[in-house]
């Protein structure tokens, strides 16, 4: 490395090795990984951020962080959709991969203090939301009422089932779950996640609402929230794009004026008024 690179001793594209310490399938396509950094240093991040995960030779992809900074290690959930994620699915405990980050904007962990919080999660939208939910549960007294709505397409796709069951037993939070398609083993709510919104007991116009799900979900959830008078500056959406470099250079994740990797993935909905490519 030359002199000026030594001076700026950081290569923003250089991943650091991490080791898989736990691994299990959450359903047929979603893999849960617990990673520990080989340097022994915990990554400092805030809920809502993402990392770029690398496998040398295969490539790199942005993955939401699902753990809370209040716990040890890094938890990721990886859907088997592309070449890289397919290769990651083949990895076992003890295998290594490259990680760089954290990148992107965060959930409003500080501003949310004292407020009632509502999390609306569709499918793998639960993954980044879980980071903030766990953070809130670890600082429970600092936040108001906590409501979590979870919608999943079908029974078999449900994520973090044991953890959700534990949440449901807690007296200090409300968790409602629904699946889009009825199933023999399911006696809970059936229907899309918006059908749960009327059941929320918090004072919605005064709550902060966090929304994350597949692209098609946002429009309907945001319409439903408008109907119950949630102001747009109390809504946070977590958007996903092709965040390739993660550092605001490569241009792939850009939606109008915003680089999702820097200005997002978490956006306050009111800030997206002039961003027609967002939703």
């Amino acid at each position: 490395m030359c002199e000026c690179c030594v001076q700026n001793n950081k290569d923003i594209y250089l991943p650091a090795p991490a080791t898989i310490t736990k691994r299990r399938m959450l359903n047929g396509t979603e893999l849960y990984l617990h990673l520990e950094s080989d340097s022994g240093k915990e990554m400092e991040y805030t809920p809502g951020q993402f990392v770029e995960v690398s496998l040398g030779g295969i490539g790199e992809a942005p993955i939401s962080i699902s753990s809370s900074p209040t716990q040890k290690g890094l938890e990721l959930v990886i859907r088997n959709v592309g070449t890289l994620t397919r290769a990651i699915h083949k990895l076992q405990v003890g295998d290594k991969l490259g990680v760089r980050g954290p990148y992107g904007s965060t959930y409003p962990v500080e501003q949310a203090k004292g407020k009632d919080l509502v999390f609306i999660c569709g499918g793998i939208g639960l993954v980044p939301q879980r980071s903030f939910i766990r953070y809130v549960l670890d600082h429970r007294s600092e936040y108001g009422k906590v409501t979590v709505l979870i919608g999943t397409k079908c029974y078999d796709m449900r994520l973090f089932r044991e953890e959700i069951a534990m949440w449901q037993e807690r007296k200090d939070m409300t968790v409602m779950e629904t699946i889009d398609e009825a199933h023999d083993c399911w006696d809970g709510n059936v229907g899309v996640v918006t059908t749960l919104i009327p059941k929320i007991e918090s004072d919605l116009p005064k709550s902060l609402v966090m929304v994350c799900g597949p692209p098609v979900m946002y429009k309907f959830v945001l319409m439903a929230l408008a109907e119950v008078d949630v102001p747009q500056d109390s809504i946070y959406v977590n958007l996903e794009r092709r965040m390739k470099c993660g550092v605001g250079k490569c241009g792939h994740c850009q939606i109008n004026q915003h680089y999702v990797c820097q200005d997002g993935p978490v956006f306050r909905f009111s800030d997206l008024a002039n961003v027609p490519e967002a939703i």
Binding site: I12, Y13, G59, N256, Q257
Partner: protein, 346 residues
């Protein structure tokens, strides 16, 4: 800053001395009936009278394909820095303005040391335009002349060059011109005259508003029919991106060796006009319409990138996209003027 004058004969000797030095020297040369930046082997090949080069000097500042790191297995990575000292000879003001913008974009927020490291080893000798190209509109964009970024600036005043050394690097180069003498008042006036002339002449397509108005103009015209009207003929070939001095989007790919273990991660030029630029894993394309991609480029130049670099417009008026576009729809001035026609400026 020191301003000198050197005769063209003596300047040629300077270029020859530069080529003999241990630095790589890249200069503008003729290729067929056009001009390109290429490694300079002889002072005679240098053509400072050129109109425009096919590709901008971006190809040296941000190479078309550049190694970022090498890997050995899944989790072992090592930075690769590919740069060497280089003199870039004959950069026009509009291209200098583009490099200045890129310097800012790659150094602010997250510092890109692959780019910056190479940039720091580069000495830029800019030169004022002597022959306007057929599509240049730098005067409309405020880049017919430039006052920063270069180490040295040359202005052709007939039988001699006025040479301005702007940095320590530039002053060191001046030492290779023992015959240069301080520019006379008359020479300085001649240089002023060249600037004045270029601010008038480099305007083959005239933007009907100040460039600083573009962000506001675009803000009002997201759903304007011009996007569809123009993009109807777009081949999504990305030629406009390729030749643009301010386009800097890139793709990243890994290339593995036959051991299937070691290899190199590269970045390579990409273009927002290309069909799959915004396609994510799972094959969802967030900008699948030609018109949306066509609009994105002109918004980036006129609004989005300016928002990142203090309002500087990211179109420098080189006119290369106008020449390169097969469908003849890429002319930014044409599009912006059409928006002006139908916009209440207020």
């Amino acid at each position: 800053m020191s301003v000198n004058t050197i005769s063209k004969d003596r300047f040629k000797q300077f270029v020859e001395a530069l080529i003999q030095s241990d630095q790589r020297v890249v200069g503008v040369q003729a290729r067929g009936d056009r001009f390109v930046f290429d490694d300079l082997k002889a002072a005679d090949a240098l053509r400072l009278d050129y109109d425009v080069t096919i590709l901008s000097p971006r190809k040296y500042v941000l190479p078309p394909k550049e190694p970022l790191l090498k890997f050995d297995g899944r989790a072992s990575y090592e930075s690769l820095q590919e740069s060497e000292p280089m003199v870039l000879l004959g950069v026009h003001p509009y291209d200098m303005a583009a490099i200045n913008q890129m310097d800012l974009l790659f150094s602010q927020d997250e510092y890109d040391n692959h780019y910056m490291c190479r940039r720091k080893k580069m000495t830029i000798i800019a030169c004022d335009v002597a022959t306007p190209s057929e599509n240049v509109f730098a005067a409309s964009m405020g880049t017919a002349t430039v006052d920063s970024g270069y180490d040295m600036l040359l202005t052709d005043i007939g039988d001699a060059y006025v040479v301005e050394a702007a940095t320590d690097n530039g002053k060191a180069l001046m030492n290779l011109m023992p015959d240069a003498r301080p520019a006379s008042e008359a020479d300085i006036e001649k240089r002023q005259a060249v600037w004045k002339k270029n601010e008038h002449d480099l305007n083959k397509h005239m933007l009907e508003c100040k460039p600083s108005f573009l962000p506001k103009l675009l803000e009002k015209n997201y759903d304007h029919p011009v996007w569809e009207e123009k993009a109807r003929l777009c081949y999504s070939c990305g030629s406009c991106n390729q030749v643009c001095p301010t386009c800097y989007c890139f793709d990243v790919q890994d290339e593995v060796n036959w051991d299937l273990k070691t290899g190199v991660r590269y970045r390579a030029w990409d273009g927002c006009l290309l069909q799959d630029f915004a396609t994510v894993a799972g094959d969802h394309n967030f900008r699948k319409d030609r018109a949306a991609r066509f609009r994105h480029r002109l918004y980036r130049k006129g609004k989005y990138v300016p928002g990142k670099i203090g309002g500087q417009i990211a179109c420098v008026g080189c006119g290369r996209c106008i020449t390169a576009c097969t469908a003849k729809i890429a002319n930014p001035v044409d599009v912006y003027n059409q928006l002006m026609e139908r916009t209440d400026i207020g």
